[in-house]
C-alpha cells in the first residue's frame, strides 16, 4: 500500500506522483484530500487528490516543494512507500448543474481545481477555466484542464504565455462582457483567492474557494485548521475545505499560515543537512 508507481516533474519544484491506494481511490469524491506522512517521524501534511483511477486503484498527488516534507517527497523514488496515507478527508464538492461555471486556478491551485472542474463538467455545466501563473514555465496541468473545459483562458503575469495579466483581470473581462456566470470556483494562493473574491463580490457572483489552513489530524479533533467564515469559527478539515469565498476572512488565514515560518526553516535546513529518500529522481531536489 501507498507505493509510488509513477512520478514525474511537471514544473519548477512541482511534482506529480501516482500512488497505490485502492480504498481511497474508490471512496474519493472531487474536492476531497488526503493526509500523508512520509516516514515515522514525519509531519502529517494535507494534499488534494488531483486525480484517481478506481480500476487501477491509484490516486494522483501534485505537490509544490515548500518545506521539509514536500522536498522529501520529491526525493522519494518509484517503488518507495509512504508511511501513511489517510483519506479521503473533507467534504466533497457540491456538484450539480449550475449552468455556467468559471474555474479560476492559480499556480499549484490548478491541481486541486482539476478534479472539481472534471466533476462539474461531467454534471453538464458549461466550464470556463482561467489558469494563471507568474510566468509560462510555472503553468501546470493545462492540457488536463483543457480536456474538461468548454473554454480555457491562460494568463501569465509577465505575458510570456497567453493573456498578459492576472487571472482577476481575465475574470473581470468576462464579467464586463456580460457573460452569464452562475458560479465561480477559485483555488490558488490565498492572496489570489482574496483578489478573486473582491471581483466577484462587486459583481454579486456566488464564489467557492478551497482553503488550505495548516492541519494536523484532518478529522476535526485538533482545531489547528480553524478559519473564520461569516464571523464564525469553522474547521477547514471537516466543515471544508470549500467555503463561501465572499464570507472568508482571508487576512486571518494568511497570518495563520505564517505561524510556523521559523520552525519550518529549521526543519528544512535540518533536512538539507541530513537528506532522506533515495535521491535518484531529482538529485537537486533539496
Amino acid at each position: 500500500m501507498f507505493e509510488i508507481l509513477e512520478k514525474e516533474r511537471i514544473g519548477p519544484g512541482v511534482n506529480r506522483a501516482v500512488i497505490s491506494a485502492p480504498e481511497i481511490a474508490a471512496a474519493h469524491r472531487p474536492g476531497q484530500f488526503i493526509i500523508l506522512r512520509t516516514h515515522k517521524d514525519g509531519e502529517r501534511i494535507p494534499l488534494t487528490v488531483a486525480d484517481k483511477d478506481t480500476e487501477k486503484g491509484t490516486i494522483t498527488l501534485v505537490w509544490q516543494e515548500v518545506g521539509a516534507t514536500t522536498y522529501y517527497m520529491s526525493t522519494m523514488c518509484i517503488g518507495e512507500k509512504f508511511q501513511d496515507i489517510c483519506g479521503p478527508l473533507g467534504k466533497p464538492t457540491h456538484i450539480e448543474n449550475f449552468g455556467t461555471v468559471v474555474g479560476v486556478g492559480g499556480g499549484i491551485g490548478v491541481a486541486p481545481l482539476y478534479p472539481i472542474t472534471k466533476g462539474l463538467h461531467d454534471a453538464g455545466n458549461h466550464m470556463v477555466s482561467i489558469i494563471g501563473a507568474r510566468t509560462e514555465g510555472l503553468l501546470i496541468m493545462t492540457e488536463d484542464i483543457r480536456k474538461v473545459s468548454d473554454e480555457l483562458i491562460i494568463s501569465t503575469d509577465d505575458g510570456s504565455f497567453g493573456v498578459h495579466g492576472f487571472v482577476t483581470q481575465v475574470l473581470q473581462g468576462l464579467i464586463d462582457k456580460g457573460t452569464k456566470i452562475d458560479l465561480v470556483v477559485a483555488i490558488g494562493p490565498v492572496p489570489m483567492m482574496k483578489a478573486v473574491c473582491n471581483v466577484t463580490r462587486k459583481a454579486s457572483l456566488p464564489t467557492v474557494v478551497s482553503l488550505n489552513p495548516i492541519m494536523v489530524d484532518g478529522t476535526g479533533m485538533c482545531g489547528a485548521c480553524r478559519v473564520e467564515v461569516a464571523g464564525k469559527t469553522l474547521f477547514g478539515c471537516v466543515d471544508g475545505p470549500e467555503f463561501d469565498g465572499l464570507q472568508v476572512d482571508f487576512d486571518l488565514l494568511m497570518k495563520r499560515l505564517a505561524m510556523y515560518k521559523g520552525p519550518e526553516l529549521i526543519a528544512l535546513n535540518n533536512f538539507r543537512e541530513t537528506p532522506r529518500g533515495c535521491q535518484c529522481t531529482f538529485p537537486g531536489g533539496a
Binding site: 471512496a27 509531519e43 482545531g223
Partner: protein, 475 residues
C-alpha cells in the same frame, strides 16, 4: 529486643507506601515517566495492608469490577503472574488503568482500610500497575486458551480504551474483531492526549500488541464517515455488529475575541503535536509546536494539567493555569495537581478569560481576565463562579492553550442513518448495554457520556461486549 523496651501490644500500623517518583526539578525538563513504580518489597508491604474483606466494597468502586482482594492475595503469596491474569479477567488494559485511573475517587475511595478516617486506603492502583508491569516484563508466552472462532464478526470504530476493551472481551469469546482507527497510531486519547511522562506510548503499544496476538485486526488511517460508513460496515462488510467508540474529540473554544490568533492552541492540538507527533524531538521529528516562554492554560481538568506540564517540558519559563473556581473544585486528579505544583506550574484561580490580545502580525501577546467569586451551587452541585464587576487583570504571554473540554465529533453520527443523538451531539445509548437507536449498533465511552475517564470508557466497552455476546447467544 532488650527487656527494658516495652513490648508492642499491637502490630505497628504500616503506612500507605509512597510511589517512588522522579525528582520534580529534573522531571520538569524531561519526558520520562514521573512515577517510577513500586519495587518488589514496597509492593509486598503495601499488599499486606489489604484486609481481604469478605464483602469487598472496593470492587463496587471499580467500573469493570476487578477482583481486587483476590489479585492482592496472589501478590501476597508471590504469584505475580497469577495476579496479573486475575486482573486481566476483567480488565484488558491494566498497565494503563494502573497509571491513569482516578483511583482515589473509585476503588480506593471505598477501601475499608481508608474508611472513616482510620487511615489511608490500600494503594490498589499502584499494586495493579506493579503486577501488570511485572507480567509484561516477565512474559512466559502462555495465553489462556481461546474458544473456537464462532464465525461472528464485529467492527469497532475507534481504538480508544472503550474500543480496545470491547475488542479484548469479544475475541476471548471467539468473535472476530476489526478495529478502525482514524489516526496512524492506536490508543485514542491514550496516545494523542495523555503525555509520555504519565503514560509511555510503549505501554499502550504493548497492550495493543497483546490484543493483536489474540487475533484482533487493526486498520489505521481509516476514518469512518469518510472512507466507509457504519452502514457500509453492516451491509457491505457484513459485520454482525458495530461498536462506536469514537470518543469526545472535538475541541471546544471559549468564543472570545482573539481566539484564532497565532499561538492559541486547543489542548488537543498542543498535546497531539507534542505527543503523537513528537514535537519535543523537533527538528529530528518534523512537526513543530510553539515553545512558549510564557504560557497560559485555560481549564482545570487533567487535560489542563497535562498541557501545562507539557509546556514546561518543552522549555517554557512560566506556565500559569487560569481556572474559574478554586483549588477545591479543580476537576483534575489530585495526584496530577500535586505533580503540577511540584514542577512549578502556577495557578491563577477565580479568574475567567474575556479576551486574547494580539499584535499586528497576528500573534497573541496577552490575555484579559475577569475576576470571579463563588456563588450558589449550580446544577452540577459545584458553586457557580460569578463575575466581580470591574475587577479585571491582564497576563502577558505568548502561548495560550484552551483546555475547557471536548464536544462530540459529528463525523460518525451524521454519516450513520437514523442514529439518535442528543442536543450536544453525543450518541444516545443505554448506559448498561450500549444499545443505540439502531439495530446491531452499540456505542460507548466518551462519544456517549461526553468527556469522562479511561476506566468509564473501559467499563462501557465491557458492558457493550457482554450485551453483544448476549444478543449473539454466546455466554
Amino acid at each position: 529486643m532488650s527487656d527494658l523496651e516495652p513490648k508492642p501490644t499491637k502490630k505497628p500500623k504500616i503506612p500507605r507506601q509512597k510511589m517512588p517518583e522522579q525528582d520534580p526539578i529534573q522531571r520538569a525538563h524531561n519526558f520520562y515517566e514521573v512515577a517510577l513504580g513500586y519495587e518488589n518489597d514496597l509492593a509486598l508491604l503495601e499488599a499486606s495492608r489489604c484486609l481481604q474483606c469478605k464483602k469487598p466494597s472496593c470492587m463496587k468502586g471499580c467500573p469493570v469490577e476487578v477482583d481486587i482482594p483476590d489479585f492482592i492475595q496472589l501478590v501476597k503469596s508471590g504469584d505475580l503472574m497469577g495476579a496479573a491474569w486475575k486482573i486481566k479477567e476483567k480488565n484488558s488494559l491494566p498497565r494503563i488503568a494502573g497509571r491513569v485511573c482516578p483511583q482515589e475517587s473509585q476503588c480506593e475511595s471505598k477501601c475499608v482500610v481508608g474508611a472513616k478516617g482510620k487511615g489511608e486506603p490500600c494503594a490498589i492502583g499502584r499494586l495493579e500497575r506493579y503486577v501488570a508491569d511485572y507480567a509484561a516484563t516477565h512474559d512466559d508466552g502462555k495465553r489462556p486458551e481461546l474458544p473456537k472462532p464462532t464465525g461472528l464478526k464485529v467492527g469497532v470504530v475507534g481504538s480508544g480504551p472503550a474500543g480496545l476493551t470491547l475488542a479484548g472481551a469479544l475475541i476471548k469469546k471467539g468473535v472476530g474483531v476489526t478495529v478502525f482507527e482514524a489516526l496512524h497510531e492506536l490508543g485514542g486519547v491514550l496516545v494523542y492526549g495523555i503525555p509520555e511522562f504519565r503514560l509511555p506510548k510503549a505501554i499502550v503499544r504493548s497492550e495493543v500488541d497483546e490484543l493483536r496476538k489474540l487475533g484482533v485486526e487493526f486498520k489505521t488511517n481509516w476514518v469512518i464517515g469518510r472512507i466507509e460508513t457504519v452502514d457500509d460496515l453492516l451491509e457491505k462488510r457484513k459485520y454482525d455488529g458495530v461498536f462506536i467508540g469514537s470518543g469526545a474529540g472535538a475541541p471546544l473554544f471559549l468564543k472570545i475575541p482573539g481566539e484564532n490568533l497565532n499561538g492559541v492552541y486547543s489542548a488537543n492540538e498542543f498535546l497531539t503535536r507534542a505527543n503523537l507527533m513528537k514535537a519535543y524531538m523537533f527538528p529530528q521529528a518534523d512537526t513543530p509546536v510553539a515553545k512558549g516562554r510564557r504560557v497560559v492554560v485555560f481549564g482545570g481538568g487533567n487535560v489542563a494539567m497535562d498541557s501545562a506540564r507539557t509546556a514546561l517540558r518543552l522549555g517554557a519559563e512560566e506556565v500559569t493555569i487560569v481556572y474559574r473556581r478554586t483549588m477545591d473544585e479543580l476537576p483534575a486528579r489530585t495526584e496530577e495537581v500535586h505533580h503540577a505544583i511540584e514542577e512549578g506550574v502556577k495557578f491563577q484561580l477565580l479568574n475567567s478569560p474575556t479576551e486574547i490580545v494580539g499584535n499586528d502580525s497576528g500573534w497573541a501577546i496577552a490575555v484579559n481576565l475577569q475576576k470571579m467569586q463563588l456563588g450558589e451551587p449550580d446544577a452540577s452541585g459545584r458553586r457557580r463562579p460569578v463575575a466581580i464587576p470591574g475587577d479585571t487583570a491582564q497576563i502577558e504571554c505568548d502561548t495560550i492553550i484552551v483546555a475547557i473540554g471536548n464536544g462530540a465529533n459529528p463525523l460518525v453520527p451524521t454519516s450513520t442513518k437514523n442514529l439518535e443523538t442528543n442536543k450536544w451531539g453525543n450518541i444516545v445509548a443505554d448506559l448498561e448495554t450500549g444499545t443505540t437507536s439502531r439495530d446491531r449498533v452499540w456505542a460507548g465511552g466518551d462519544i456517549v457520556t461526553g468527556a469522562a475517564t479511561v476506566i468509564l470508557a473501559m467499563g462501557a466497552g465491557r458492558k457493550a461486549a457482554l450485551a453483544m455476546l448476549n444478543t449473539f447467544g454466546i455466554s
